[in-house]
């Protein structure tokens, strides 16, 4: 399992795709971070009432994590689309199937590989925000909650992307499909904003991320992300098992 994860990680870095995405994301997060820091004093000196004054961690964190959750929507499908469909296209699936590995290990290994890659970014963002500590006294709990939330969010993206990747032999189709699916799940809460009691709202990924973004770690949200990931991994395993059974 770890070997598969290792292999995925290696192939992520063997192609320019991984490096380009890393570079672009790093660049955009860095820019937002700098903007956040620059704007902080301007905005804060403008706000007179104490209720409007928020800490620097939250102010900069909001911008960066807000952007991160949105930009990952594009980045994760780009990375996840290759996971299985590329193997199908280049006929390398038998290589994994004839190795002494169960299908569960193959799928979970691939998922872990991608999550480890994405966690580099999460750690990077957290490290970047922690540098604020040099000038200010920052709220590490807030950063931790946000990092955890972001990690769970991108893991969910990855699980869904992995499933769509197992459906087709064309990476591009897998990428587009997972992007659309993720997008729908993200904006569900906009669609049903009029009715706050709607069950559909419960499915929105973004809504569950919101509480993490506020610095709140809620077991209900943890369970939601956990179940989301588990569901799509199970579906992927079943899909690959069907390959073996039906040929």
């Amino acid at each position: 399992m770890l070997n598969i994860a290792r292999k995925e990680l290696k192939s992520m870095f063997a192609s320019p795709m991984g490096w380009i995405i890393l570079a672009l994301l790093t660049f955009s997060f860095g820019t937002y971070y700098l903007n956040g820091v620059n704007n902080y004093f301007e905005v804060m000196s403008g706000s007179i009432r104490p209720a409007e004054r928020i800490g620097v961690t939250q102010f900069v964190g909001q911008t960066v994590y807000g952007l991160a959750s949105f930009i990952m929507l594009f980045a994760v499908p780009l990375l996840s689309m290759r996971l299985i469909s590329e193997e199908r296209r280049s006929q390398t699936m038998p290589f994994l199937f004839s190795a002494p590995l169960s299908i569960t290990e193959i799928v979970v290994g691939k998922f872990l590989g991608l999550v480890v890659f994405l966690s580099f970014l999460v750690v990077y963002i957290a490290a970047m925000l922690s540098t604020l500590n040099i000038w200010a006294d920052i709220d590490f709990g807030y950063i931790f909650a946000n990092s955890l939330g972001l990690l769970l969010l991108v893991s969910s993206f990855a699980a869904l992307g992995l499933y769509f990747s197992s459906l087709t032999a064309q990476p591009i189709i897998a990428g587009i499909l997972s992007f659309i699916a993720l997008f729908v799940l993200m904006i569900l809460d906009r669609f049903f904003a009029g009715d706050p009691t709607s069950t559909m709202l419960k499915f929105s990924l973004m809504r569950h991320f919101q509480s993490f973004a506020g610095g709140l770690i809620d077991t209900a949200d943890l369970a939601y992300f956990g179940l989301f990931i588990l569901t799509f991994i199970t579906l992927t395993i079943r899909r690959l098992d069907a390959d073996r059974l039906r040929g």
Partner: protein, 317 residues
Amino acid sequence: MANLTVEAIELTRMYGGRAAVSDVTFSLQQGQVLGFLGPNGAGKSTTMKMLTGNLAPSAGSVRICGIDMIENPKEAKALIGYLPEMRPLYKEFTVDEYLTIAARLHNVSGKHLKKAVEHAKERCGLTHMSKRLIENLSNGYQQRVGIAQAIIHNPMVVILDEPTVGLDPIQIRDIRALIKEIGQAHSVIVSTHILPEVEMVCDHVQIIDKGKLVFNGGIDVLKQQRVGNKLLVGFRHPPEAAQLAAITGVAEVEPADGMWRIRFQEGTQPHEAIVQAAVQNGWGLYHIAPDQTSLEDVFVQLTYQEPETAADLAKAA
């Protein structure tokens, strides 16, 4: 029976309503090289996929060294090295990287990893290609990487689906030698279209047609078939066919491109009688040689003959 490495029992695979492979039963012992022959679409690759656990059989079972592939797939797969028809290569890696991954996936422990990779490269003649990207290798070298990948964990059973496709003659010779070498200690199953290859490397042959096993036996049985009981004889002053047919032991005479094809009766050797008759009558003998049916002919015969004769032959084997 302890050294049976592969047992396939009544393997059947249905695609839709059509049976791609039906009722294939065979076994293989340690130290044997099995050649798997058959026309396109006969079910060779499907059988191999089932043997390696890439495809679940509709019925029947596979046992590798006594371990059931369906019940304990992990243990069974650990004993197999498989090169599918389409080379499963990750082209973005170098040869070394790829082989290291292959070794790790097959549970080669960290200590032996380097040695295993070096050994596999050496055996497949890849040592000087270690740092090259697989993408940039020629077809033949890619094929070698595929074979190296299949033997890296020193498996009990090596299954190669058309291993010599795309290789140059020298490489083919090397690979055949390699197959023979592996076959001494372990078991090898090779599928191929190239019939002389079977004769060279295999000591057991199976011919499959339309999903059914039509021939299963030692290579010598097939060779016997091939040499047959015919002589091709050429004369400068050809006699009447009846005169030839009169020689004891001759069963049938038929003309063939200005020469005569003489088939003799079972268990007789009329070569000398023919030569003597030719000298006495001044027929001007200039050519006498065993008329070999090519392996292709035997193959065609086996795959296109009536079902009952095929069964007879299988019994004879």
